[in-house]
Amino acid sequence: MIFFDRVSKVYPDSSIALENVTFSIEPSEFVSIVGQSGAGKTTLLKMFLAEEKPSQGKVFYESTDVHTLRKNEINKFRRKVGMIFQDFRLLPDKTVYENIAFTMEAAGRPDHEIEADVPYVLELVDLSSKIWNFPSELSGGEKQRVAIARALVNNPDIIIADEPTGNLDPMNTYDIVQILKKINDLGTTVILTTHNKGIIDSLGKRVIAIEKGKIIRDDKDGKYFA
């Protein structure tokens, strides 16, 4: 489903972000990518979303090289991917409802579907009571749940969670991981990048470890440190 074929990324200042990275991810897999800051995790995700081009190698989604897509095809492709970020990246001037509705509007979904699906997906993340609040009125955990709801609402094939628990306390971290697990159980591929040893160890799912732009370990039922 996702295939990184000998991908390297060298920035103009000659710093190497990724070096000859090859791996694949199957549908419905839950994959954690671990590594220190600057190891290349985020670059990897940006390559997949066609935000950055690789210096060498190719990135495939199904049978398509995502870097050969045209602008409007990239937009369509991104609608198949739900993104969750460490800093939530909600639209500050929109309410919870509007933040989620925006994703559906961008995908060209009609009004009646938006009106039905937004409350439904907020119920899934247990945030129905905050539907008309603005992001500034929510706690960190609540913001991240809105972000998850936003990522989920278009029924994506893949959820990418880039350090989703980095700004959260242990209680909220646990909740978010449980939601991600539930999403994966329902058949969505989840790619999670994290520093958090506890999360990785408790998941018992596949772990790809990156160091200085190279994959140093790829375990089926990995732990943070082998």
Partner: protein, 308 residues
């Protein structure tokens, strides 16, 4: 879907305007400065044009005919002068009228009147007062009068003198002043418009810069460029409309106040009356300028954040 998207874009634009009250207020105020400048340039050029045409009106040339000239010959010349495209008006003053005017002018000067009485005949010739459409055309009119056109039916010239040559220096100077004032006015207008548009553009660029994180998120959730850009363009248009309408209102007291000064200064030109008379054109011009500057600034400013 097209209309649904348009509706959503307009609604989002309105929400953005309303929810970012402070930013909107700042942008509208800056945009108002731009539109005020454009408005004042309109008023300035109206004042300039009125003053210049007043000056133009004051310039004329007089052709004085010899006293022996026959009236029908003079009227023939008047007729042919009126046929010239450069001429806007010709006034005939007969010998009798010229004498009458002379007497009135010198009513207090007994010696001159007594000298006049000594003469049996009216010593004054008839005159034609000629106004050109443009001061630069007096020379061609003077040349016309020098030629064969002013010969009487018997082939003798009946023109005594043309005062163009006495006034030539003044007329040339005035023509030059009018030309360079027009040119300078145009250059200043263009410079001010460019400057004020740049200021408005920069302000809108800042408001979009503030939203650059949001734009990045919109791109990541797969929104098309048009869908991201649309609300910002609507926002720019709203800035332009609100600033335009406010500016038109602000001009009411300003022109009323300045109007009293201009009436005294520029021979009866009241800026307030001019504003009211030309309001439909000024309304369209100011509003269109606002909308154009707002929309164009948004389109240009957001482009750099939309490169995939």
């Amino acid at each position: 879907m097209f209309w649904t998207n348009i509706k959503r874009i307009i609604r989002t634009g309105f929400f953005n305007f309303w929810r970012n009250g402070t930013v909107s207020l700042a942008s509208v105020l800056v945009m108002m400065v731009t539109l005020l400048v454009i408005g004042f340039l309109i008023f300035g050029s109206a004042i300039l044009n009125t003053s210049l045409s007043e000056l133009r009106d004051k310039v004329d040339i007089n052709v004085t005919f010899v006293p022996e000239a026959v009236e029908s010959d003079i009227l023939n010349i008047e007729h042919s002068l009126e046929g010239l495209p450069a001429v806007s008006m010709v006034t005939y003053v007969s010998r009798e009228q010229a004498l009458e005017d002379f007497k009135i002018r010198h009513a207090n000067d007994q010696s001159i009147l007594a000298a006049l009485d000594e003469l049996r005949d009216n010593p004054l010739g008839a005159t034609l007062n000629i106004k050109a459409k443009d001061p630069s055309q007096y020379e061609s009119i003077a040349l016309f009068l020098e030629g064969k056109n002013t010969l009487s039916s018997s082939g003798v010239t009946i023109v005594d003198h043309v005062n163009y040559y006495q006034n030539k220096i003044a007329i040339d100077k005035l023509t030059k002043i009018i030309d360079s004032t027009n040119r300078l006015g145009f250059a200043v207008t263009i410079a001010f418009i460019i400057l004020s548009v740049l200021i408005a553009f920069n302000t809108i660029r800042l408001t979009i810069y503030i939203a650059k994180e949001e734009i990045a998120v919109m791109r990541l959730v797969g929104a098309s460029n048009l869908y991201i850009q649309g609300p910002f363009v609507v926002l720019g248009v709203i800035y332009g409309l609100v600033a335009g309408i406010t500016t038109l209102f602000v001009f009411l007291p300003i022109t009323y106040w300045i109007g009293q000064i201009t009436t005294n200064f520029f021979v009866g030109f009241n800026l307030f009356h001019y504003y009211l008379k030309e309001f439909p054109q000024i309304f369209v011009l100011i509003l269109l300028s606002g909308v154009f500057v707002g929309a164009l600034s948004s389109i240009l400013a957001i482009r750099r954040y939309l490169r995939v």
